[in-house]
Amino acid sequence: MRALFRTRSRATRPVASDEPELFDERFQKRLEYLSLVSRRVFTGRTRAERRSRRAGSGVEFADYRVYYPGDDYRQVDWNVYGRSERLVLRLQEQEEDLSVYLLLDCSGSMAFGSPRKLSYGKQLAAALAYVALNHLDRVSITALRDGVVQRLSPTRGRNRIFTVFEFLRPLTASGGTNLSDAIGAFAAQNKRRGVAVLISDLYDPAGFEQGINRLRYGRFEAHVVHLTDAADAAPELHGEVDLEDAETGETRQVTVTPRLLSRYAEAHAAYLERIHAFCRQKRVGLYTVDTRTPPDEAVLKLLRRGGLLS
């Protein structure tokens, strides 16, 4: 009988634009703290430098290569020629700026969660950008949905963090997800290779694998920050409901029972396992972050795990 008189409501849907100020003074102070701590993390390494695998005009020996006509004579190792009468080039490691590409998923599914995944992703992107800028790296941010929505051109210098804030602040969660197309477009726009960090919930109807593969194929050093929310695995649903996909608008009639919820939890766990298996197999760095973890703490964990920005 209680069910009989239960009140009805319209489709419950997260609101995308009700977030408070993300980059307030408190957040910036936490970034400062993050900056100090990240220095400690990188102690002993060459600060603000990253060696490229390309031979260049650096001072440190990298390798030898057989001379081909057209090569720069200045790089011929004449000592080797004297001993072996073979023309080989002495390759020096070329020191260059690291390009850090932050790819933020702004699709409709990122409007879910508490806090919302997009808000959390913005703070995470800002924090990573701050750390990168602090290391004098070149930072670019791209907002993705079913294509590239918006792009912050590569920039460097610590004071550019406010530009990053200005870029991130107006982004909203809406539309569908197509990581493959979006990352394909990103790769086409950015020829300079570097570290690409995809911040997303990986809810792509076409499959997340294709998008990540596009990064790999574009010779980016791919990393994935997978945002999860507790409600993703255990949604608070009961009774007769029409489920509506927040991105595609597709609906399904469901009678939610404890058993169905249990099976859904299993399906969600299997999906996570699929992501882990893929990234493990493709040697893509995967960082699964629960949105309940404070962003600065999450960034520190990412940095401690290594591989990203080091």
């Binding site: 009988m1 209680r2 069910a3 009989l4 008189f5 239960r6 009805r8 409501s9 319209r10 489709a11 419950t12 849907r13 997260p14 409709g108 599914s109 409007a111 879910f112 919930d201 809810y203 109807p205 993703d232 949604p235 649903l237 009961h238 009774g239 007769e240 409901v241 029409d242 489920l243 509506e244 996909d245 927040a246 991105e247 595609t248 597709e250 609906t251 399904r252 009639q253 469901v254 009678t255 939610v256 029972t257 404890p258 169905l260 099976r263 859904y264 399906a267 969600h268 999906y271």
Partner: protein, 623 residues
């Protein structure tokens, strides 16, 4: 089956309307809630199974609707209050008469006979139900129903809790008559007496009960009957000297042992005498205190019986109240009568003024006036004692002649005016022949004419002697001053020199001053009730022994009420009630039946279903 709460049409209308509403609400319930999810792809695999369970889901919906309709039907039926039709029930009707008379206060069974009777009655009413309707009544001097004729046990138990011990004797015949009135024409009628007396109905009553096919059962109460108590307690003021009183106490013992009792007398609440008295088994002892002085209002006797040979405490106390004394103003209109003046001197509470016939103007301001051989020109404004009225004026009657040597053949010795007087051998020379009014009362006289007449004129009392006391030897006798003072007491409503107390259960009439319409009576337990006093008379049937305070506007009076004289009897319980030649059986004690009416069951069933539905809903079994 019959519906008591609703008619059949109302019930069907209610059921139909509520069912339609339920179905409408259920249709609303089936509208689904739309919920947005971030990624429906995760649900796709799960929804494949849902299609196969759609039929089961529909069945669950149908079951849920049926449950709701069942709840609605149960509630509608509960409102209709269905009861088994009377014809379908083999009904039994029982009147439980609980003796609450004074002897039931005996403590030979713990804590008292009355409590033992109530315990037995509780066992009896426990079996009440649809097929056994019971009425609980208390019997003492009257019979008081405490419950309706009902099968509801809690009502009967509440009625039993209202039974109160009484100081009055039990009138079993009245209780039988009451039960006969209740049970006449009812099937399976039965009277159950819980009493220590086992008094059978009188022959006529027994025949009426038999004709009405009413069975009588009996539960004997009590174990033994040792008792010692006060059987009589009376006090009176001496007529000649009303400052002194005479007191009579009678004690008795109904036991197998000689009792050494202690009798304490209290005057106005303070002990004035304590005596140890030995009473032999079955004997009564009288004690007279012939010169009790210094007591203005109340006297009380208390008896203490050592050991456990007294099972009834109710008769261990007795009470008496002395009437209030107040000064009275008396006007004597006489040319000189030493006998009269001497008689008036005996009562120090009288203020006597003497005037001659010629000086008499009126009796205003006096409580009584005495006309000695004088007829006032106008009716006096106070009660009057006429001595040899000459006739004419405002004389109470006209003189028709005289007769010689009258004799006091007829005497109304019960009248207050003649109380304590001995007039039969008084010698009188002659008396006037008068015509008395119909309302007048001849207190003494002979066939030739009245000698002493009492009555009322113009709303005021009078007493007239048709002879001249100087022509008789009456003034030489003790009766003379008694007669005069009695008449004045009667005028001033201060009669009651004999102040024997009233008894519990007996009607008592208290005369109040003229004009008093209501009086408040406060019993010994402190309970007050306002009673009407038509014509200045308050009628009271006291149910408790002790001092009762009667108060009215401008006055108060104490009335003593003693335990009934019937208290003095053998307290031994009578184990058998014999009606005709057959002993009454003990009543059948039935096992407690289910007490609640069907609507309670229906409502409980509806509640149970709602609870189950609530439980299954929240466990997601039915959604």
């Amino acid at each position: 089956m019959e519906l008591l709460g609703l008619s059949l049409a109302q019930f069907l209308g209610l059921l139909g309307g509520a069912s339609l509403l339920t179905v409408a609400l259920y249709m609303l319930r089936l509208r689904r809630r739309r919920v947005a999810v971030p990624f429906i792809g995760l649900w796709e695999g799960l929804l494949a199974d849902r299609r196969s369970s759609r039929l089961f889901s529909r069945l669950r919906h149908l079951l849920s609707l049926l449950v709701a309709l069942a709840v609605v039907a149960l509630l509608a039926l509960a409102l209709a209050d269905p009861r088994p039709s009377a014809a379908a029930v083999s009904a039994r009707t029982l009147v439980v008469l609980i003796d609450a008379g004074v002897t039931m206060r005996a403590s030979d069974v713990e804590p008292s006979r009355l409590e033992a009777a109530l315990a037995e009655a509780r066992e009896l009413v426990r079996g009440a139900g649809d097929d056994l309707h019971v009425l609980v009544a208390q019997m003492d001097a009257s019979t008081t129903p405490l419950s309706p004729l009902t099968g509801e046990r809690h009502v009967l138990e509440r009625a039993l809790s209202r039974v109160e011990p009484s100081d009055s004797p039990t009138d079993h015949q009245r209780a039988y008559r009451y039960a006969l009135d209740v049970l006449s024409g009812r099937p399976g009628a039965e009277i159950t007496l819980l009493t220590d007396a086992a008094v059978a109905p009188g022959p006529e009553l027994a025949e009426a009960l038999a004709r009405a096919d009413i069975a009588i059962t009996h539960v004997p109460i009590g174990r033994r009957g040792d008792n010692a108590g006060i059987s009589a307690f009376a006090v009176r003021r001496y007529p000649i000297d009303k400052n002194r009183s005479e007191l009579l106490v009678e004690l008795y013992a109904d036991s197998n042992h000689a009792e050494d009792v202690e009798l304490t007398l209290l005057g106005d609440g303070a002990p004035i005498d304590v005596q140890r008295i030995r009473i032999e088994p079955g004997q009564s002892i009288r004690r007279v205190y012939d010169d009790v002085t210094g007591v203005a209002h109340t006297l009380e006797a208390r008896l203490r019986v050592p050991g456990d040979h007294d099972d009834l405490a109710a008769d261990d106390r007795a009470y008496a109240a002395l009437p209030e004394r107040r000064r009275s103003r008396v006007l004597c209109v006489t040319e000189g009568n030493l006998y009269l003046e001497a008689a008036l001197l005996l009562d120090e509470y009288l203020d006597v003024d003497v005037v001659t016939h010629a000086a008499y103007r009126s009796a205003d301001g006096y409580d009584a006036v005495i006309f000695d051989r004088f007829a006032p020109p106008a009716p006096p404004s106070a009660p009057a004692l006429h001595l040899a009225p000459p006739g004419g004026g405002a004389s109470p009657f006209e003189i028709q002649g005289s007769f010689e040597r009258p004799l006091f053949e007829r005497l109304e010795t019960e009248h207050p005016v003649l109380r304590f007087t001995a007039l039969r051998d008084v010698n009188v020379a002659r008396a006037a022949r008068v015509d008395v009014h119909e309302t007048d009362r001849v207190l003494a006289g002979e066939p030739r004419g009245p000698l002493i007449v009492a009555g009322e004129r113009e709303g005021r009392r009078f007493v007239a002697l048709t002879f001249d006391v100087r022509e008789s030897d009456l003034p030489l006798r003790v009766a003379w001053p008694l007669l005069v003072l009695n008449a004045i007491d009667w005028f001033t409503a201060a009669e009651g020199a004999d102040v024997a107390a009233a008894s519990v259960g007996r009607q008592l009439t208290i005369e109040l001053p003229r004009g008093v319409k209501h009086a408040v009576v406060r019993d010994p337990a402190g309970r007050e009730q306002t009673l009407p006093a038509p014509h200045g008379k308050l009628v009271l049937v006291p149910s408790r022994a002790g001092f009762h305070r009667v108060s009215w506007d401008g006055g108060e009076r104490t009335v003593a009420v003693n335990p009934s004289e019937a208290t003095r009897r053998d307290l031994s319980p009578q184990p058998q009630l014999v009606i005709g030649k057959r002993a009454a059986a003990r009543p059948e004690v039935r096992a407690p039946g289910f007490q609640h009416p069907p609507w309670v069951l229906l409502a409980a069933a509806a509640l149970l279903i709602v609870c189950l539905e609530w439980l299954t809903y929240h466990r997601r079994w039915t959604v």
